[in-house]
């Protein structure tokens, strides 16, 4: 198995997803199954091949570096679970 319980905990931490103890083993098993299966990619000879980074060859468009949108504070806060006095509210971050 390529993914053990510690790896699941580490990855979940990196992904900011709380994982209960009883979930660790099933995740380890499923993630291992998937990663063992994608292992077959290693048999492909990719010598001299550049990684493909865009589905269609294109150069990103450029535009004038100017403000085209803004002044929409209320729109931006409208869906926040907790917004106060024009800000997103979160638990204390800095002591």
């Amino acid at each position: 198995m390529s993914v053990d319980a510690d790896t699941v905990r580490k990855v979940a931490k990196l992904a900011r997803i709380a994982v209960e103890d009883h979930e660790v083993e099933p995740f380890a098993k499923e993630l291992s199954g998937i990663l063992d299966w994608v292992e077959q990619l290693q048999e492909v000879d990719v010598t001299g091949i550049e990684p493909m980074t865009s589905a269609v060859p294109m150069r990103l468009k450029r535009r004038e570096d100017a403000v085209t949108d803004g002044n929409r504070r209320d729109d931006i806060l409208a869906n926040a679970p907790d917004a106060r006095e024009g800000f997103f509210a979160v638990p204390k971050v800095v002591e």
Binding site: V3, T7, V8, V11, A12, L14, A15, R16, I17, A18, V19, F27, E30, L31, G33, I34, L35, W37, V38, Q40, L41, Q42, V44, V46, I49, E50, P51, M52, T53, S54, A55, V56, M58, L60, K61, R63, R72, D75, I76, A78, N79, A80, P81, D82, F88, V90, P91, K92, V93
Partner: protein, 492 residues
């Protein structure tokens, strides 16, 4: 009066102008079907009042003359498209009650043409799934059932609400998105036409992102002509999406001549796999034969890296998903978990994401996080991106010899809800469709016929990048020859 809800867009367009009925009549008929279709669980939000308002406006526009093709046409919209002030949750609890303050470019284009919105359609959570079973609203049920059997079947996924609603005559056309097959597989499972355009043809602005280098929106329709009409309206050059192609949108419907004389159609030998149903092989051969009979030349081709497309996809798409879904933090929108005394910002993130995401989404975020993490990046992600280049090269070389490629859409027809519990087994659903996303090409699924137990099967045509005109025309010729006209028997 004939049943308004089984008409094609092209028919309705004519009849609306001939004043056989009004957009209000048409919309009312669909609202009735939507209200009576709850057993299928296709809709996650119904908007009958908005629909009536839009229909009224459409009637005024039709009366004034010169209305666009979609004027007064009732549509269903996949939950992945942001619709202003209307719940848009991407099938996820983490976007609980999210009401976007903006409208996606695609839906803006549709409303600008006078289309009518009946509501939002269920989908697999964040479009991750092939059976619509990961939707936070519960599974959608396919209107099709096996002959003499009441087993509930999947309408496919991730755009399962879109395929089921269309097949059950609850909309005249629907929108979907396709990252690995999420339009074409559900279309094949429901006897409908599903088109995934070239990546960059349709703006992704305002569509909840899953895997940005693969996602592309497209229509579900009853016919290829309707797909051309819908694509015409959906596609645009959009400055809000810097990856939307700077290529003018051609007149797709005008390309439908049905003439395929001299066209070369490729049959890839790698698309014959174990466990493929005998009927799909038969339909595939017949489809090729029909095109040959109309003057096309059938050419055997090879796409040697086909078998690596699915594993490469399951590195690239989770990697992009883990990055895209990092934005769901319980702060800016959507769900925030109840916190305990002393919990800080990290617990807020971790608990909100644990409660908000379903298991399949968590799996993919974790796979993506893993393959992008230090020490694994080159072995997994870079390798997959290199293999992706080889898959793309296979297609480039094939398209030097052929104009389109014909394959089955799926190896087998719709399966029962709950039948596939292993994630890997589910992933194999996309074996014939995912290659197209990896290469960014356009693909269309056309209904081919019924399996021995009475379920629809689809054939897929793959075209050149931005070659939708030619692709739609070949699909039109195929559709004309296949003469598929079966509809599900109403049981719901």
């Amino acid at each position: 009066m004939t049943d308004l809800t089984s008409l094609t867009i092209a028919d309705a367009r004519y009849k609306l102008r001939a004043k056989e009925f009004s957009a209000a009549d048409l919309t009312e008929a669909f609202i009735g079907n939507v209200a009576g279709g709850d057993a299928l669980n296709a809709w996650c939000e119904k908007t009958p009042d908005l629909a009536r308002e839009q229909a009224k406006a459409a009637d005024a526009r039709l009366a004034a003359g010169e209305a666009p093709s979609l004027c007064g046409i009732p549509l269903g919209i996949k939950d992945l498209f942001c619709t202003k002030g209307i719940r848009s949750q991407a099938g996820s609890n983490i976007l609980e009650d999210f009401k976007p303050p903006y409208e996606s470019t695609v839906t803006s284009n549709l409303w600008a043409d006078g289309a009518v919105m009946l509501g939002k359609l269920s989908m697999d959570e964040f479009a991750m799934g092939s059976s619509n079973e990961t939707a936070c609203y519960g599974p959608v049920v396919n209107p099709w059932r096996r002959r003499g059997d009441e087993t509930k079947l999947t309408p496919g996924g991730s755009s399962g609400g879109s395929s089921a609603a269309l097949a059950a005559c609850m909309a005249m056309a629907t929108t979907g998105t396709d990252t690995g097959g999420s339009i074409r597989q559900p279309a094949a499972f429901t006897g409908t036409v599903g088109l995934k355009p070239t990546w960059g043809r349709v703006s992704r602005w305002g569509i909840v992102a899953f895997a940005s280098s693969l996602d592309q929106a497209g229509p579900f329709t009853r016919t290829v002509r309707d797909a051309a009409i819908m694509l015409q309206a959906m596609a645009s050059v959009d400055e809000k999406d810097s990856t939307s192609a700077d290529i003018p949108v051609p007149d797709y419907e005008a390309a439908l001549t049905g003439d395929v004389k001299g066209k070369r159609i490729g049959i890839p030998k790698e698309y014959t796999v174990d466990g493929m149903s005998a009927e799909i092989t038969k339909f595939w051969e017949e489809g090729a034969e029909y095109l040959r009979a109309q003057g096309a030349e059938i050419v055997e081709i090879s796409l040697p890296h086909t078998k690596y497309a699915l594993p490469a996809y399951y590195i690239v798409s989770p990697a992009e998903c883990s990055s895209n879904l990092a934005r769901y933090d319980g702060v800016r929108y959507g769900k925030r978990a109840q916190l305990s005394q002393g919990d800080g910002i990290t617990e807020l993130y971790e608990k909100s994401r644990a409660e908000g995401f379903g298991d399949e989404v968590k799996r993919r975020i974790m796979i993506g996080t893993y393959v992008l993490s230090a020490g694994y990046y080159d072995a997994y992600y870079t390798q997959a991106q290199k293999v992706r280049r080889l898959i793309n090269r296979d297609f480039e070389q094939a398209f030097e010899k052929v104009d389109a490629i014909l394959t089955p859409t799926t190896p087998s027809p719709a399966f029962g809800l709950g039948e596939k519990s292993d994630p890997l087994e589910m992933y194999l659903q996309d074996i014939f469709t995912v290659t197209v996303n990896m290469a960014g090409l356009p693909g269309i699924s056309v209904p081919a016929g019924l399996s021995s137990d009475g379920l629809p099967l689809g054939l897929q045509l793959i075209g050149k990048a931005f070659g939708e005109e030619d692709l739609l025309n070949t699909a039109y010729a195929l559709e004309t020859a296949l003469e598929f006209s079966a509809t599900p028997e109403k049981w719901w």
